[in-house]
Subunit: 430 residues, 2 copies
Amino acid sequence: MLSRPDRLLSALDLARRVEANEITPEAIVDLCAAAIAAREDDVGAFTYLDIAGARKLAREDARRLAAAPLRGLPVGLKDIYDTYDMPTEYGSAAYKGHQPAGDAAPVTMLRRAGAVILGKTVTTEFAHQQTGKTRNPHNLEHTPGGSSSGSAAAVAAGMVPIATGSQTAGSVIRPAAFCGVAAFKPSYKLLPTIGMKCYAWSLDTVGLYGAGVADVAFATAAMSGRDLRVDRASPSAPRVALMHTHIWAEASADMQNAVTTAARALERAGASVKDATLPPLLEDAWRAHKTIMLHEAARSYAFEYDHKRDLLGPKTRDMLEEANKIGVDAYDDARRIAKRARLALADLMGEFDVILTPSAPGAAPHGISATGLAIFNLLWTLMGTPCVNVPGLSDSAGMPLGVQIVGRFGRDRAALEAALFTEQALAQGS
Amino acid sequence: MLSRPDRLLSALDLARRVEANEITPEAIVDLCAAAIAAREDDVGAFTYLDIAGARKLAREDARRLAAAPLRGLPVGLKDIYDTYDMPTEYGSAAYKGHQPAGDAAPVTMLRRAGAVILGKTVTTEFAHQQTGKTRNPHNLEHTPGGSSSGSAAAVAAGMVPIATGSQTAGSVIRPAAFCGVAAFKPSYKLLPTIGMKCYAWSLDTVGLYGAGVADVAFATAAMSGRDLRVDRASPSAPRVALMHTHIWAEASADMQNAVTTAARALERAGASVKDATLPPLLEDAWRAHKTIMLHEAARSYAFEYDHKRDLLGPKTRDMLEEANKIGVDAYDDARRIAKRARLALADLMGEFDVILTPSAPGAAPHGISATGLAIFNLLWTLMGTPCVNVPGLSDSAGMPLGVQIVGRFGRDRAALEAALFTEQALAQGS
């Protein structure tokens, strides 16, 4: 059961129509504006919008934009990406009205590639768990996930074809799964995080949202200048490790079914799918993630803790209180475990192209004061491997379910190809 | 021939005197103020000073500061470290009067450890090569080195006991060598770079300046909470690899003599010193450094290139023009070389504790419009290994010469111990 794909704006489709002179960048801004007018009051994806500015740029710079890799496509930026021309509040009352002096590096890369920045999307405070106003477009009573809440919801509501997120635990993949859109978290440091509010420097990774896998591949290729597009040929059949992991019991029955459905669809489409067990060292790394994240967060957010504590939400304060207790020895131990685990994972992946595993424990939970769990994401963030949320499945209530394709470090294109293969296999099976 | 050690403020000595109630934090600010009054007009180490604020804090907060690890010691911050209470201009007309919203992570770590921030020190523009006003305290006609020009000069002129720098090629170690002070560049990511203006994210490393090796070890230990002090016991004799490297011929005769002198002093003091050749893979890595640095700089400084180009100095503009030409394939190749070279270096270092090699091609060159060459530093920055400039030698004109101790990745304390051993061996031999 596919979740409302008709409402999404496909970046690749729009770019092709610009190439064919069938649509102008300005008309695409209008498409976004119409969706925003229809849904933003309910969904609350944006913390700042400049539709007039986007329309003006798209009109006045139409020729340059149409010739650039991104063809003038509108983009929503998670509000932890600094922008010189829009306020950047990091989801925090401590930065109300804050105006950075410059753009984050990925923002300039997007602008150079021909993006039109439409606005800033809601993030949880400092990309942790203190939620914002955003609701899941598929059911307003449910969370869109976090921390990239607004970006996933904006793409899911057809408000923008592309949006950026960031992942320190599960903040790119999980919201995509909950909102029924594709998301790509590239290999660690494939895209720079300079000018983004830092949570944990060993983990923070840029991510992109789009309607489908080929869309996020197209957008990442365009902004990075890397050969990552997967829309120009049929993807070849991948060798898939079906990885239930040690926390399989934490996945809902619907999610377990979704992963099984994806595995069967992959096999039917010609992929090899073999069960694989998570090596014990990777279970250790799974546990080590939190130590690394918190130790670094205690330093990244040290200024805010010391100078703006009263303005922080209780979840942010509690996290930093806990973070302040983690000493350097525990941190160094955790880093050593992570390093060994990366080698063990590379060994395991000698036989496989990708891993198939849940994107989240299930569909988006009810309520918007919590964003769900990152337990199926955080290990891969720590390993630095490329991850893709493949949309296309849903539960009995019609809420999206995402399955996750995890690639080998530095093999981002192969991960995207396998994810596209999975997406197509699911579409054929439905 | 030692270069004027009498004028330096030893952090460790001052901290001990605070512990013994022999001096107050406020009186230490006065010592700094006196040196600044005497020399700053000539040396030009600072771009912003707040002596009154420092004195006020040292007086009003004397008890807390005296009990904190850094004992209220005044610190100078390279002006690429964001500060919420002082302007931060990154050495660039493009950021004239820029006031960040918060502190860089290392700044909060220093404040928490009981530092009193005295001011911001001169950096070359964006930590590249466009020079500022600073002159070498040992001879005002000579460069202090760069990019951490003001920090090295401020410590050398006795204006502060501790100053921070950053190294992307040779910007911590080289100025220390030219100015005759100790400097420590820890292992990559031992200290966070969050809130510092990013040049190249794979390379940027925090560094500290002090009068001697034990001083920089003390300061780094205090701010990081790590067991890095080397002043509590005599350092044991290290196993030293005497590494002339493939660019030995680029070292001046004086520098070659200085390295030979250090090697003999080490042997006399009981260290084992063996000649070691730089493996070819590390020569490749030496060449790869520039590709990585420039490719990343093109993205780190993309906003400034696109929006503030006319305000940048010609050397910065030229660097970015060159940087824009380096594609992703060359970058990926360079990163693969670096990764393999790190493994080769780890192999080589199985037999050794540290490498002894020049800190710079020679003494500080004449003139202040260029900062000298980083050729003896950039490989170790790319390898992420701890590096220490050991002062104590000088050329026939009385200009300081520094030798460099390079440790094993993650063995920062061993590197500092070996550097202290070298410093003491040189002092005994003089």
